[in-house]
Symmetry: C2
Subunit: 344 residues, 2 copies
């Protein structure tokens, strides 16, 4: 029932768009042999260029366990499904279209052995629906990555109704081997967890903005400078362990009643779609952009990603608790010398 | 009507608990003369120790414009309301108790001139209610800080019904002078913005956890490693400008219907209060803590704060756009040499 989780196993990635290419690099960085399959005509050549570029980027940040040359050696880019035959884990990341995914799964299943795990990167289509398209639904699972895959720790593992829990736990272990912090969703509720939590924020913020009570700019500032100042260290709920709980009961009691419960699509989102807004990609979005500004933001994100990834590494939970006992720096902080005091 | 916003003006801080002391240091760091008033018996001595400790911490991070010695010189810690007489801006941060705040405002008003702006750090009591306790409600406003005040950019400015908008805009300018990224809420809706957005997240996450669909640990991982990987750079809505909008309409249409609309207090919060849980402060919380672990988390936060503050400085919007034109590093990234390609 189990699956191999060692780093020498061969893994296939099917679909080599931005996300797929980035996943290929993450798997190479972890030391795997990777078969990267381009199912679309012409995709292979673009993907090779893109993957090699990303590999260099990963190498610049010392993320390639084996180094650049060996990582390139461990990669096979192909458009032939026969090449995925030896793979025991196949990560699908083609577009979010059920019919296309169905065809892709059939081709995959035609070429791999029955014990192969097939994982979808979908964040929109229920795993329980997709797993009906494969001959071994118990070995089908959602494995949802964040961009750039080799420089984020996010990995959302989602079971469909028929997914074998032993397979799920092995995939979680595999994710840990890849340096991720996998989450496991045992039931594929719509939108998984991430989207549901973010849509709860969108709903409230867009409603307040529509009513003129706030602006999107201010909502962004609040998340950048308040939430941003602790979220990478502790997440939502450990934060409450820092703040304490005394004030929360009255706040829950009074605030939940006032939050938006709407289910219609907020106006500004309708408008964005009507205007064919693609944000920084076509300089039309919630914020105005010149081409230079859009480029500057894109560049900034590439750099920021590396910085926040490294910061998160520094403050990983395991590292933090291994460092116990801490030194007494903070105590020293409050140990005031008399001469300083006398100046006040 | 206006208020002085220059850094030489004298500012009073009334209430010298953790938050008040931290605000004192932020104001000193910006070069102000500060009268720090301890309204509780015995609070003054503890506050002096605490403030000097924080000043050193701020100095270690080069945050004191005037340096440590001059900052100490610019501070007067007192328990005598007469000392606040020359101050044109008074920041109140006593406990969240309307009756106590009422008494404090009366004492403040008895000692300052009519044109003084009185600001409350409250995040729980409506500004419109509090401003009824002062003789000049048009010059009363909410100014809500985050901890540690000298090392965060968050500043939530909130008007009550009677607050003069000219005063509000001056306070926003004052906040900018303090190195903050102030947000302005023109109408004091309950919970202001930050709390409403976070309670929307709590509601959805706690509901999913109660149903067994996820765990608080996994919700935390998602925020640490997905949301955390971009929030400090771009906030909630600029993020959408990066992702594009095409997929959002169907997601809004299907997901909003499924989000929790409950208004009862989630069970786990009731339990925390019943158990007198104070999180890392008494090793009882949503997570288990040994004393050493609680201490390690507290230390980690002090260090993390400094790191994320500096990272946010690096990626401030103004700095980012001033840096245009960026160099072509990213283009180089994808400019693959032929010899690398041939190895694949």
């Amino acid at each position: 029932m189990g699956i191999n989780t060692n780093s020498h196993m061969q893994i296939a990635v099917v679909g080599l768009g931005l996300m797929g290419s980035s996943i290929v690099v993450s798997l190479l960085a972890s030391g795997h042999q990777v078969v990267a399959l381009a199912p679309l005509p012409g995709e292979k050549e673009i993907a090779i260029k893109h993957i090699v570029g990303l590999l260099r980027h990963a190498d610049d940040s010392n993320l390639l366990t084996k180094g650049l040359a060996a990582s390139v050696q461990a990669l096979k880019v192909t458009d032939d499904y026969q090449d995925i035959a030896p793979c025991k884990f196949v990560q699908e990341c083609v577009i979010e279209d059920k019919d296309i995914k169905k065809i892709v799964y059939q081709r995959i299943a035609d070429h791999v052995s029955e014990d192969t795990v097939i994982a979808s990167n979908t964040s929109a289509i229920p795993i329980s629906e997709l797993q009906q398209f494969v001959p071994m639904p118990s070995r089908f699972i959602g494995v949802h990555w964040a961009e750039p895959a080799y420089m984020t720790r996010f990995l959302e593992v989602t079971c469909g109704e028929q997914t074998d829990m032993v397979v799920a736990e092995h995939v979680v272990q595999l994710g840990k081997n890849w340096g991720k912090e996998p989450t496991l969703l045992k039931k594929d509720i719509r939108g998984f967890i991430t989207n549901r939590l973010m849509y709860a924020v969108y709903r409230e913020a867009l409603t307040l903005a529509e009513r003129g009570d706030t602006t999107l700019e201010d909502a962004d500032k609040i998340f950048r400078y308040d939430v941003g100042s602790w979220i990478t260290l502790m997440g939502i709920f450990r934060r409450l362990d820092f703040v304490g709980f005394a004030d929360y009961i009255p706040s829950f009691a009074s605030l939940l009643k006032q939050l938006s419960n709407r289910s219609d699509v907020p106006l500004v989102m309708e408008r964005m779609v009507a205007e064919n807004a693609r944000g920084i990609h076509n300089c039309k979005g919630l914020y105005p952009y010149s081409e230079q500004e859009a480029k500057a933001w894109e560049e900034a994100f590439a750099h920021f990603n590396k910085d926040i990834y490294e910061l998160a590494t520094q403050y990983g939970e395991q590292r933090l608790l291994e460092a116990i006992p801490y030194d007494v720096e903070e105590d020293k902080l409050y140990d005031v010398e008399e001469d300083k005091l006398s100046k006040i």
